[in-house]
Symmetry: C2
Subunit: 656 residues, 2 copies
């Protein structure tokens, strides 16, 4: 691996997003998701099943410190599933990112108080998982396969590190360092320790984040241990089941232990298998360790897994996970649009993985996929009102099928009130509120821009503070202006991604020509930059019909519509029922119109099309005749914005 290519993403606090598109999502997170979630974490949402998350922490705190009284009814035990701690952790992480771009004393006070409670639950030896504190510590570390202990710790670390970054406060971080010490005493390669790892990955990448904050090699070493040990024979989970009688839920599955990506050593894994969210969390951790330890074999596995996902198992929306059973990958080129899983969290995990690979080697494909999933499969998870969420993001829905055919049972045709699904809304909140940290990365000689949200950032380059401002109406328009503010002329290399979707572009410096090279789909400009230099990248953004690889049997004979990075779809609200009867016809004419008052402001597309007319006869089968088609006008909307009106049909891949 070529370490000279390594870059570091600029910290969130060094960038301010001023993008019309993204600010609307960030505001929804700040004003809707976070307050609502806090109420939910405290079981104060009327008509909603309780979350139990804060109550579990309070109960654990009272057990640990009998002098405390949070008013928890002592008769009640631990509530909800084993992993409620992580729901709190993701909320805290999103709070932290939000505080970075918008200070809020009230919110910070709430967070501080919550941290107080959480820390009070910590055991004298550092252990801090409410499920086992509340139900019996004797059983801790006996079901690493299914009980999410280290997963919760991972999320808490992510939350604590973010909160430290946002506020400088390290109370929770310090508590978790002690918890990590406790884990380290019980689990690891040394004799007498459990040679285990977590069935639900997260701790791996979280420990790297912790290492980046603490600089403590122990944190890196423990993360590397979890990566190295995973899937090594004899399989820990099988031993653990024998010893503790734990149940195995995947006996009937083809993936077996690969559900947990734990059926073989991770360096021997080259095809994405099993639970999709867990997989991409693991792969992200693997990429971190590969980079930090210079482990070429591990990086090769990462690259293979990446290639397998993006070239064989990824939806056009950047979503992943084809099967509801196991919330899992299925196999190469199997991309059902209607029975799809495509969990919002999995798309988010893919973004994490992409960000890490970008930092190892800036190749355009990583940010292409990042952009694809951000503008499509991730934000499709949230409604325009910020209060309804998709867990599953279908590429096609036919409401009657959802009601009457069990293979569609998991596919909601409307976003659900967010408390119905605990994992996706806060995950969306944390990625949206940390978007700034995906935009630029740099190393000694180059500053790269991967995404183009309107923003202002400051970086230190060649000993100078450099301000980089992006002005754009992206993704609705293709023009991106980059302006540098410098105290003095500075020599550095600047690289800006040429998106994979773009066929024609123009680049100007201060309105004139400029010489550049292209490397891995980054336009590279090496020069003495002057204060006020403005680079204009004009990406032609025509409507483009896309086809899927011929091996994708579900999309044969169909096309999708994209403009720039945005994937479009047809909804019943605009185009009537029975959308599957629609054909694009030859050379459909597309017009694009930005409509500020439609769906929160979108560029809608208008095209001609054909729709097959019904037969006069009420029969099922007839000799093939030339179908009769009506000319229809189609309105296309960005996929992410579907299901914000009267529930109905939606299709993305349309017959040609």
């Amino acid at each position: 691996m070529d370490k000279s290519k390594f870059t570091t993403h600029i910290p969130l606090k060094n960038i301010r997003i001023d993008d019309v598109f993204w600010r609307s999502f960030m505001e929804r997170v700040r004003t809707q998701v976070l307050p609502y979630q806090w109420e939910a974490l405290n079981d104060r949402v009327p008509d909603a099943a309780p979350s139990y998350a804060m109550r579990n922490f309070k109960l654990a705190a009272e057990k640990t410190h009998p002098e405390l009284d949070y008013g928890v009814d002592p008769a009640v035990g631990h509530g909800g599933p084993v992993f409620t701690d992580n729901d709190y952790a993701k909320w805290l992480e999103a709070v932290a990112y939000t505080l970075i771009w918008r200070r809020d004393e009230e919110l910070e006070k709430t967070a501080d108080a919550s941290i107080e409670i959480v820390c009070n639950a910590q055991q004298p030896d550092g252990y801090l998982n409410t499920y086992y504190i509340n139900t019996g510590l004797g059983k801790r570390f006996t079901n690493l396969m299914s009980n999410h202990e280290l997963y919760c710790l991972g999320h808490l670390i992510e939350g604590a590190a973010a909160y430290y970054e946002a506020t400088g406060k390290r109370k929770l971080l310090d508590a978790l360092i002690r918890y990590v010490d406790c884990v380290d005493r019980h689990i690891g390669p040394e004799e007498g320790k459990l040679h285990g790892y977590c069935g639900c990955e997260m701790i791996e990448l979280a420990l790297v984040k912790l290492y980046q904050v603490t600089g403590d090699e122990k944190h890196l070493r423990l993360s590397k241990y979890f990566i190295d040990q995973r899937g090594r024979p004899p399989l820990y989970f099988e031993e653990e089941m024998k010893l503790n009688g734990n149940a195995f839920d995947w006996k009937d599955s083809y993936f077996q232990m690969q559900y947990y990506q734990a059926g073989k050593p991770v360096r021997d894994q080259h095809i994405a298998e099993g639970h999709a969210v867990r997989a991409v969390y693991l792969y992200s951790g693997m990429a971190d360790i590969a980079k930090l330890t210079g482990d070429d074999k591990l990086l090769r596995a990462c690259n293979d897994l990446w290639d397998n996902i993006v070239n064989r198992q990824m939806y056009i929306t950047g979503s992943i996970g084809q099967s509801a059973y196991g919330e899992a990958f299925t196999f190469d080129y199997d991309l059902p649009n209607d029975t799809v899983y495509a969990e919002t969290c999995a798309a988010i995990g893919l973004a994490f993985f992409a960000r890490r690979l970008t930092s190892i080697n800036p190749k355009g494909i990583y940010a292409d996929v990042l952009e694809r999933t951000l503008y499509n499969g991730i934000i499709s998870g949230m409604s325009l009102d910020g209060r309804h969420f998709f867990y599953v993001n279908p590429l096609e829905v036919f409401p009657e099928a959802r009601e009457k055919s069990m293979i569609y049972k998991h596919v909601d045709v409307q976003r659900q009130k967010w408390f119905g699904c605990a994992c996706c809304p806060p995950n969306l909140a944390r990625i949206v509120s940390s978007l700034g940290s995906y935009v630029h990365s740099l190393n000694d000689n180059t500053l790269y821009t991967h995404l183009f949200p309107a923003s202002e950032a400051s970086v230190s380059l060649a000993g100078q503070e450099v301000k980089i401002k992006i002005d754009t109406k992206y993704p609705w328009e293709g023009r991106v202006d980059i302006t540098f503010t410098l105290a003095a002329k500075t020599l550095f290399r600047y690289g800006i991604r040429l998106p994979g979707w773009c066929r024609q572009y123009h680049i100007l410096l201060n309105g004139g020509d400029i010489s550049y090279t292209i490397e891995n789909n980054y336009l590279l400009i090496n020069r003495d930059w002057d204060n006020g230099d403005t680079l204009t990248l004009d990406l032609e953004m025509p409507v483009t019909l896309i086809e899927a690889n011929p091996k994708v049997r579900q999309n044969t004979g169909k096309a999708a519509v994209m403009r720039g990075p945005v994937v479009y779809c047809l909804e019943e609200a605009d185009n009537g029922k029975e959308l599957f009867k629609i054909r694009l016809g030859d050379n459909p004419d597309f017009a694009c119109r930005y409509e500020a008052d439609f769906l929160g402001g979108v560029a809608a597309l208008y095209s001609s099309g054909k729709k097959q007319r019904n037969w006069d006869e009420d029969t099922l089968y007839q000799p093939l005749a030339d179908g009769v088609y009506d000319e229809v006008k189609l309105r296309w909307i960005p996929y992410y914005a579907w299901a914000n009106r009267t529930p109905g049909e939606m299709i993305l891949w349309v017959h040609k």
Copy 2:
């Protein structure tokens, strides 16, 4: 309803099938299925799970008559599911039909001995269900919803009536008449009786058959009671659950009590819902009762249900039941080819229903559907060796999907050894061996021919014995010669079905023109028939591309291939992998060649076609370009004959 249109099918013993096509199936039933099943019923098949059917009868007989000793280990209890009795009953029924066309003393002796055992199990009050005799009679009639008691009785009646027809022996029939008396004492509309009916229908049509043998109005009345009472509020099954604490398996389903077609009165049912096999068994019984009692409202429900099935919910193969969950119907125009259920038994039940409607009103559509399912979706259930069977009959398989995606878990890509599925093989055996009883029906003034297997039958018409001989190579050739043998000139009307698939035909009498009328797709000839008169119906049988109703979203842009009544498909063994990449192209050229040594003798089709070439790039999505297609030669085989070679892909609906 117009009773002048009623006809009666000629009894099986008055017809002899000499058809090359069907004799091969009948011989497989006789030489493979029946002997094998007898071994299975007696738990003598090595490496197979025991059936327990005969052992359960022996155990029950020993309990009833302690002096008997069949050598059953007294320590063992009832084996297998609650409904093993019906497995025996279907075997006996198929044996009976087989004995009619081919006497076999050995087989008859075996059947007689089995009947001896069964009758010895009967209780003094007539009750005869091994599950409750063996596990405790106190519980009988307490779970009519789920425990199949009357279903088993129904099948036993069918078997006993057939055996009586074949051999004149009525020992079992008489025993079952006593069992029916017992049921009648416990269940019925009168006060003090259980106002129930069976969750798994069969008793309704069986009691009609019994009535036709006995002439006892009680049998008709009891059948009519079961039909009338079904689904009437308060729902019996709900009351029964409350009273006896029985479990309800369909809480999560949309069909609820309609799983059993018991959610509303049957006369108010107009859309086929719930378990497909049960549904068509019920509808067959409803048609019987409608005909026998002149119940117009009941017939209207039958007609509506028929229309709903054949115009909205039937596969091109004549298979029904779209969903594995509940083995059930889903909804109108929902016909998934790959996640399909299409149970062999359901297609057989549809044939039963069609036969009954034909007898009420001879309209071509009934026999069209009967023919469609017989030549396609029914016989696809059996392998060429007669020893492997499909329960589920998919219209498309992609083996890797079956292995790696749970939505295909129920779809086998190979027929299974028959003992793996107890219901479909004997059901296939009984319909194939009773095919003759579907061919002709008649009333006072008209003899109708519905199907065209080469055969000889004798009927009594206008006081004369009339022999009717069919010579044909149908379905491979369209010419059908009908020759009448008469003692003297006889005036009668003869009707022969003009198949719905046929667009061009010629009809000649003794080589010359003949005048006829057409009514409901029957060619009707009213004349003084002479001995030796030969009618030649020549049905042009070109290869025809078929399209599905535009509302069938799964088949948009696709066509199927038929020739005559036979539906064709493409298999990997002939056409390579990735069949979904194949397109028919414009005006594909088809050649038809009968190949005696291929797949047991079939007319194979050969055509041109196109197959999309793979991309050079290993990517998933690209701007739409003109696809590159290779010209390919395609070999099409009859759908029923697929999966008799190396397992692989199969498609039926092919892209245009």
